[in-house]
């Protein structure tokens, strides 16, 4: 009989979670949104865009790791998930090369140059989107109208921005359309057409403990409060908080982008600060910035603040007393 007593440091029990399992949960959570988007924009075009984004991400990750002589990690699903999130951030009628290039930019510039998964300071999918938005402003802001599939050049957010810039007021027809925002009636990025599908997916992630409630709640809450203040001051110039929450990428950002494990704070207090920063910056960029949409920029800016937030919200060691005098 083996009488050796093995002593090892904690943890002693592993619950079997892996990166691949978590990524699978995120992909499941995105399914309702993907389904609604296919219903809204037709099957072929959005599917091609998404497939090309995923191929761009996975192929560039494999190629980079092959060249660097590193273990190939496309099996963990993180590159595929970056591809899906990137596709949900692009117009469904994007040209094929833009989808591929976005995938390559997301993985190479956003992730692999920093050392791969776990080392990237910024959300790779948002890096991909931002590279595309700055490089190809025309293609990135040419949207399809849901269901009719008509090509339009403006989202409700840019409609509002242009109208307020010209006349100082929000046109009535946009106010009237507000009801349809909730069910994805507006033109927009693939994934942001439906707030409810995203909320459902987000709740699934919280239920599966892939993410915690802190960031989505403080992101959406702070955006709601700040936009409500502006709306209360002057409702003919500033859109209502409901409009802000259900347009653009806010829901997608709050549940799926701002909750990325790698690029956001790890302490609960830090997560609340992070979410609040994202919400406030988003509303400020939308109302006063040069671009109609600010979710991607606000999350990237807060990503860069993550290390300092973590350092400032470090929990006190148990029993630690600060000496007085």
């Amino acid at each position: 009989m083996d009488k050796t007593l093995y002593i090892s440091s904690s943890p002693h029990v592993h619950e079997g979670g892996t990166t691949a399992k978590a990524m699978r949960d995120v992909i499941y959570a995105l399914l309702p949104c993907v389904a609604l988007w296919i219903y809204s924009f037709g099957i072929i075009k959005p599917s091609v865009v998404m497939a090309l984004c995923i191929i761009g991400c996975m192929a560039s990750e494999a190629a980079w790791e092959k060249v660097r002589g590193l273990p190939i990690t496309i099996g963990d699903g993180s590159a595929a998930m970056t591809g899906i999130l990137l596709a949900l951030n692009m117009p469904p009628n994007s040209p094929w090369w833009m989808a591929l290039l976005g995938g390559v930019a997301a993985i190479v510039i956003g992730k692999q140059v920093f050392g791969g998964l776990g080392y990237n300071p910024f959300n790779p999918a948002l890096i991909g989107r931002t590279v595309l938005l700055i490089s190809f402003p025309v293609q990135m802001t040419t949207w399809m109208m849901p269901r009719t599939h008509e090509i339009t050049s403006a989202t409700p957010l840019s409609d509002v921005k242009i109208a307020v810039g010209l006349t100082g007021n929000i046109p009535d027809e946009i106010k009237a359309q507000l009801g349809s925002v909730l069910f994805g009636g507006f033109g927009g990025q693939l994934g942001v057409v439906s707030g409810f599908a995203l909320i459902a997916g987000g709740c699934y992630l919280i239920y599966r403990k892939v993410i915690t409630w802190h960031i989505p709640v403080s992101f959406i809450g702070s955006a709601f409060v700040l936009s409500a203040i502006f709306w209360a001051v002057n409702s003919s110039k500033y859109p209502s908080p409901v409009f802000h929450l259900f347009t653009g990428g806010l829901m997608l950002g709050a549940f799926f982008m701002a909750t990325d494990w790698v690029t956001t704070p790890i302490t609960p207090k830090g997560m609340l600060i992070f979410g609040a920063g994202c919400g406030i910056l988003t509303i400020l960029i939308r109302l006063f910035g040069g671009y109609p949409e600010g979710v991607a920029f606000s999350i990237l800016l807060m990503n860069s603040a993550t290390p300092i937030i973590d350092r400032l919200t470090m929990p006190k060691k148990f029993g630690l007393v600060t000496q007085k005098g």
Binding site: P95, S135, F136
Partner: protein, 196 residues
């Protein structure tokens, strides 16, 4: 002194921008087109050669305590020459490079060579050092600018080479493109050097 190995030193092993990390500001700011890159490279090379020669010739009479102000005065005189000549004969280029021509005064490559080389070596070898370092700087600028102009504008030296179907990637012409182009060139050069 072997001119070939000196040239290799300036372009590759001690390339000011891509190996020593000097003169990054002008390399970032003036590399949005190959034309600007060459303009900046030639202007800096001229100043570098002249200041190296004069500083080397005066190295025994400049007291070491005030050598930096003395170097800067000498460099600034030649920058003024370049600035006025360019404004007179190449007004478009002068306009495109803008503040970065006067800023050659504080370019760390030029002060760096004055301090590290010209103030310790004879006039002829200082002149050669100025030439090879200037060529290295120009080559680095042209390399960065080529990447940025081809991707960001579909053209090389102002001539469209990628056809009208090419959609330019504006990011590469904008400031972030300079950082990306320099970073990838630098990484590529380090990789090649490491494999040797």
């Amino acid at each position: 002194m072997n001119p070939v190995s000196e040239l290799k030193r300036g372009i590759w092993t001690e390339n000011a921008v891509l190996k020593l990390g000097l003169g990054l500001c002008p390399a970032l700011a003036t590399s949005s087109s190959v034309e600007n890159g060459i303009g900046m490279g030639v202007a800096a090379t001229f100043v570098l050669i002249c200041s190296n020669v004069v500083i080397s010739a005066m190295r025994k009479i400049i007291p070491s305590k005030v050598r930096i102000p003395a170097f800067i005065v000498i460099i600034a005189s030649f920058v003024t020459v370049v600035d006025l000549v360019m404004a007179g004969f190449l007004p478009d280029l002068h306009k495109a490079l803008g503040i970065f021509i006067p800023l050659i005064v504080v370019n760390c490559i030029i002060l760096g060579r004055a301090e590290a080389y010209a103030s310790k070596n004879a006039v002829l070898s200082s002149a050669v050092d100025g030439i090879v370092m200037g060529i290295g700087f120009t080559v680095a600028l042209v390399a960065i600018a080529s990447v940025r102009e081809i991707l960001g504008n579909g053209s090389f030296f102002g001539i469209n080479i990628l056809g009208s179907g090419f959609v330019p990637m504006l990011l590469m012409i904008l400031p972030p493109g300079a950082f990306l182009a320099i970073a990838f060139l630098l990484a590529g050069m380090n990789q090649v050097s490491a494999e040797k």
